[in-house]
């Protein structure tokens, strides 16, 4: 299997030899073959360690599990998707960088209904999906618990309130963090609340040039808090985000992107 994989990566065998079901799933998920067929169709799929998913070793809150999906080790990523094999809703989100204006990276919080593989799949311009992932150990219930907002009679007063910040970095990329108040109801909760979730963020420079699109689904945690690595123009004084939920509500955010923000330092310790 490893030989096939390595050969595929070197382009020595035709892509059709590495369909997902031909290579054993490193996470040994019972549903992987079905999920892969449904998600990737006939496209070539390889398991690739350069696509990294980071989750904590312990889950504190099944409704708010921090996850990073990172395919920055690959060139020419056209799309990055996050999947959870054993969640009732498997497709978590898709990020599509606009013309290399964003890196293949996203951090966010995930709801999980039970312990599950969490995967990222990066589509490169040659049409191959590169899949990496980890198994997330946890007790369940994150998808079928009502949103915290449902315990707050005034939740509509804060619905859509957005907070954010841009950190410009020396290498020309910028880190964008955006948090929007939203219950992100899955429709599966015991209180019978229908699905109600933000389904899209269009991230643009101040001039309107697209940087990235993030499509989100029900498993993204309440009050979605995402971190992206984007490449705005030096002249962009802000990053503008147009969001929309499945009930047609519109959320517009303008995040200042000045040059005088302190850059990320290389180490976080000391």
């Amino acid at each position: 299997m490893l030989r096939i994989l390595a050969a595929a990566l070197l382009g020595l065998v035709p892509a059709h030899l590495v369909y997902a079901e031909t290579a054993a799933d490193p996470l040994q998920s019972p549903v992987w073959n079905d999920l892969a067929r449904k998600t990737f169709g006939d496209a070539a799929v390889v398991f690739d360690g350069r696509v990294k998913v980071t989750v904590p070793a312990i889950v504190e809150n099944q409704a708010q599990v921090p996850v990073s999906a990172d395919a920055r080790g690959l060139a020419n990523v056209e799309r990055l998707i996050v999947l959870t094999d054993l969640n009732p809703i498997q497709h978590v989100l898709t990020i599509t960088p606009a013309q290399s204006k964003a890196e293949a990276y996203i951090s966010f919080r995930l709801k999980i209904e039970q312990a599950t593989p969490v995967r990222a799949a990066a589509l490169t311009s040659d049409g191959v999906w590169h899949v990496g992932g980890v198994f997330l150990e946890a007790a369940g219930g994150g998808c079928s618990s009502p949103a915290m907002a449902r315990g707050d009679a005034d939740w509509t007063a804060t619905l859509g309130n957005a907070q954010g910040k841009v950190w410009r970095q020396a290498d020309g990329t910028a880190r964008l963090r955006l948090r929007v108040r939203h219950p992100m109801d899955t429709g599966l909760a015991k209180d019978n609340t229908p699905a109600f979730f933000i389904e899209k963020f269009d991230v643009k420079g101040a001039s309107g040039d697209p940087l990235a699109t993030v499509e989100m689904f029900e498993p993204v945690a309440e009050d979605p808090t995402i971190t992206l690595s984007i490449k705005p123009a030096a002249s962009d004084a802000s990053i503008n985000i147009d969001g929309r939920d499945n009930n047609g509500n519109i959320y517009r955010s303008v995040v200042p992107a000045p040059w005088n923000q302190s850059a990320l330092t290389t180490t976080s310790g000391h």
């Binding site: 980071t54 989750v55 904590p56 070793a57 312990i58 504190e60 809150n61 708010q64 921090p66 996850v67 990073s68 951090s107 946890a138 007790a139 369940g140 219930g141 619905l159 859509g160 309130n161 957005a162 907070q163 954010g164 910040k165 950190w167 880190r175 963090r177 955006l178 948090r179 929007v180 808090t225 971190t227 985000i241 047609g248 509500n249 519109i250 959320y251 517009r252 955010s253 303008v254 995040v255 200042p256 302190s262 990320l264 330092t265 180490t267 976080s268 310790g269 000391h270």
Partner: protein, 336 residues
Amino acid sequence: MPVTIDTPPDPHDPSDPQRRQLLRLAAAAFVAPLLPMFTAHAAPLTYDLKPVKLDDGAWMIGGRQEAITFENGGAIANITILDSSEGAIIIDTGPSRRFGEELATLARTLTGKDIARVYLTHFHPDHVFGNQGFEAGKIAAPAGVIKGLQELGNGFSDAMYYIARDWMRGTEVILPSVTVTEGIEDIGGRRLRLLPRAGHTGADLALFEEKSGLLIAGDLAFLDRAPTTPHANLATWRNTLDELSAIDCKLLVPGHGPAESSTRAITQTRDWLTAIESIIVRCFEQGLDMTEAMQAELPAGFASIALARYEFTRSVMHLYPALEASKLPGVGKRSN
């Protein structure tokens, strides 16, 4: 040199997985030829509680300096038993029904009397899920502990069953019937100063027994084991620690870690809280995401503290959301 009272060395040292594996294999090899049909059935689980004497008529059952695992059955918190002329006084009941029942039997054996009173220091499951070993009418806790257990108990129960599995068999959430308020309670010659405080959770109980000079701090104090923060308010916690450090105690029993004649547990807990808060705030201000902040370097001095990385990781998850909510600038509102 301060006096340290710790748990005796454990022959099944769970910190050594290789040894554990060997023991398990050896046990399996020994049993297999004898019971070919029943090898899948383990011996009945037992906590085999080992009381350590703290003082005349006072014992501690030391918790393992570990996270809750199946191997330790959740027995990670310190439990205190005090003798009195009216009966045994128990502080915290442990992680499961099985533990609570073994604890009640042990307390009756040690004191030769029935149970007079059970106090709960806070609502975390490793301290209160043994309540079924006792009459609810004998169990006392501050109102906030009762409320917290009522609200969060079933969620804790799910997590405990998931991790500790068969150790939890038959365990249910039992709420205390007696509400503790600030003051002194005399029970059979024991004089207990009850100190309902907060910080580790929204409702913590520390007890100072004036006759013996024992300060039982619950999880307001940890020693040589990283403090946990899922329901903590760090500023309140530090204030409470300042107050506790002024008590002239003979022996301090932390919620986790050895009992000592010094107040090292208080100092260490406060230092830990201050350090992790400053690291986490700095990570946040640098723009790091939670999964990156979890990998931040920890001070060298933390190397001797059990579960330092594990609890730091948890604390990132506990503290980051509040930082985001309070410190990220507003950038937009709903537009329709």
